[in-house]
């Protein structure tokens, strides 16, 4: 019998800056995710939030994935387009580290989505077939450290940008707590945009989400290890879903996205 695939598109390695969290050691985290039945992980690095030497962040991320992943962990490199010569970092992610995608944190890196640098980044990423993951928030704004208050990303300029880069594949991370209704629909309509379920809340949240968001745009994400990774799996259980819906959210959609990005289709 084929194993049941489960692709977690929202995981970070290394240390959360504000506290030690359980499983913030790559070996432990990989073991825990495997126990949860996860078969592939798209991993960024918490170091990418605040470190300025992003080249070493991405090199460490790649090495950690190689050393501890045994095929489980796919590195998604951090790019900060406010840093000098960020284009070289993007090139290294694609060519040296052979990453399938990038992860962006505009609110931690201090730029708005109408910054021309982001438009260039999207264009370069699309040309190289790199998936772009953009994190809307990392933690609840109400309980942030008083010296590190980071508001959610203002996504209003994003729809225009997506229309200008139609071949971009964009995954919005941690977005479903702050993006809903027409604003979310506009982003989904504007391009090949995906969302993941780590910050989706409410009883039967996935059932309700699928009333407004096409099934093929919904991915499984846990935001581990900052969140207990069990939460996302339990959401699959709480909602009444068809086998087809479950299968696509668990892995089908993410696998297809990855394959299409890698083939340049």
């Amino acid at each position: 019998m084929p194993r049941r695939e489960l692709i977690d598109v929202n995981v970070n390695l290394s240390r959360w800056p504000m506290r030690r969290v359980p499983c913030d050691d790559t070996r432990e985290l990989a073991a825990k995710l495997r126990r949860q039945g996860v078969t592939q992980v798209w991993a960024g690095s918490f170091d990418g939030l605040l470190h300025k030497d992003v080249a070493s962040v991405n090199a460490r991320l790649t090495e950690e994935c190689r050393k501890h992943g045994r095929g489980l962990l796919l590195p998604f490199g951090s790019i900060n387009p406010m840093l000098p010569d960020w284009e070289e970092e993007l090139r290294r992610c694609a060519e040296a580290h052979r990453m399938p995608g990038l992860r962006l944190h505009p609110n931690y890196h201090g730029y708005k989505l109408d910054d021309p640098a982001l438009g260039r980044l999207f264009k370069f990423a699309a040309e190289r077939g790199l998936i772009v993951q953009l994190a809307a928030i990392m933690e609840d704004e109400r309980m942030m450290h008083p010296r590190l208050r980071v508001p959610p990303v203002d996504t209003r300029p994003l729809a225009r940008l997506l229309k200008e880069t139609p071949s971009l594949r964009l995954v919005l991370l941690n977005a479903l707590g702050v993006l809903r209704g027409p604003v979310l629909s506009e982003l989904l309509d504007a391009g090949e945009t995906y969302v993941e379920i780590s910050m989706l809340e409410g009883v039967a949240g996935i059932e309700k989400l699928l009333q407004h968001v096409p099934l093929e745009r919904v991915l499984f994400g846990s935001h581990a290890p900052l969140f207990y990774c069990e939460a996302a799996r339990l959401k699959l259980k709480e909602s009444v879903l068809t086998q087809e819906q479950l299968s696509q959210i668990r892995a089908g959609n993410a696998a297809r996205l990855l394959a299409s990005a890698q083939s340049g289709a």
């Binding site: 933690e139 109400r142 942030m144 809340e201 009883v203 969140f227 207990y228 709480e238 009444v240």
Partner: protein, 261 residues
């Protein structure tokens, strides 16, 4: 292990009536293996409810739990700004009715003396008292309590059973604030499933002062259960948090009402 959910609401659910909504909630609770739900506040909430609105909200809960007496308990929603009306609701819903607890939200900070007669009466009736708390760096609502406010109340009422809603939201500070006060229990409900919250609560308070709740329907059962299932704690602690602690706190009032659990 039997799971009891301390913290459930009827808002944000499909259904025209309170009992239809509770029925829907129970369908999802069944999927997640949850045996009992504590329900409070009405179909639509008010920060500062009038006496009429309190009665309406409590009537909604009475109607809902009346349909599912083996699955749900009710807590009476009170407003300390309306002392006599709140005392009347306590007597109507708890002394003379099936409710087993009190819910206090954001009408008035809970360190105010106006709460004293309500807490005293609830304690006489053996009702547990759930006080919403949050510590927001973005700023609390004018009447929104913090765990520090609850500590002041607990000192004045050492025999009351007080539950610190949401563990103060900012749980790393909230749990520390309530730590020395043995009559305050921590509610795990309502925040993101941030890893480490349950481990810290067990480490600092002891597992017998930590209670699972979800804050559905605004939150999911899933994300909140994950705080307990995902925590690196002994199974004996998990059992206490998921049900045994709440049973222990409710046993006196349930016994008084002739309800065996």
């Amino acid at each position: 292990m039997e799971i009891w959910d301390l913290h459930c609401h009827l808002s944000g659910l499909p259904g025209r009536t309170p009992d239809e909504r509770l029925g829907k909630l129970i369908e999802y609770a069944d999927r997640m293996g949850i045996a009992r739900l504590c329900v409070y506040m009405g179909m639509e909430w008010a920060y500062d409810p009038s006496p009429e609105k309190l009665r309406e909200d409590n009537d909604a809960v009475l109607r809902a739990i009346g349909r599912y007496p083996d699955r749900a308990f009710g807590f009476a929603y009170l407003n300390p700004k309306h002392t006599q009306a709140s005392l009347d609701e306590l007597n109507r819903c708890v002394r003379d009715g099936p409710m087993v607890g009190v819910k206090l939200w954001v009408a008035m900070r809970c360190n105010a003396p106006e709460l004293d007669p309500l807490i005293a009466r609830a304690t006489e009736l053996k009702a547990v008292i759930f006080q919403h708390t949050w510590l927001k760096i973005t700023g609390n609502l004018p009447g929104e309590s913090t765990p520090f406010d609850l500590v002041e109340l607990a000192k004045r009422h050492p025999n009351a059973t007080l539950i610190c809603g949401h563990s103060g939201g900012d749980w790393e500070r909230g749990l520390r604030a309530i730590r020395p006060h043995k009559n305050i229990f921590a509610d795990l409900a309502g925040g993101d499933p941030t890893a480490g919250v349950t481990e810290m609560a067990v480490r600092e308070l002891g597992a017998n002062r930590v209670i699972y709740g979800s804050d559905v329907a605004g939150r999911s059962f899933a994300s909140q259960l994950a705080k307990v299932y995902g925590a690196n704690i002994p199974d004996s602690s998990r059992r206490l948090i998921l049900g045994e602690n709440l049973k222990r706190l409710l046993r006196p009032i349930l016994g008084q009402k002739g309800i065996r659990v």
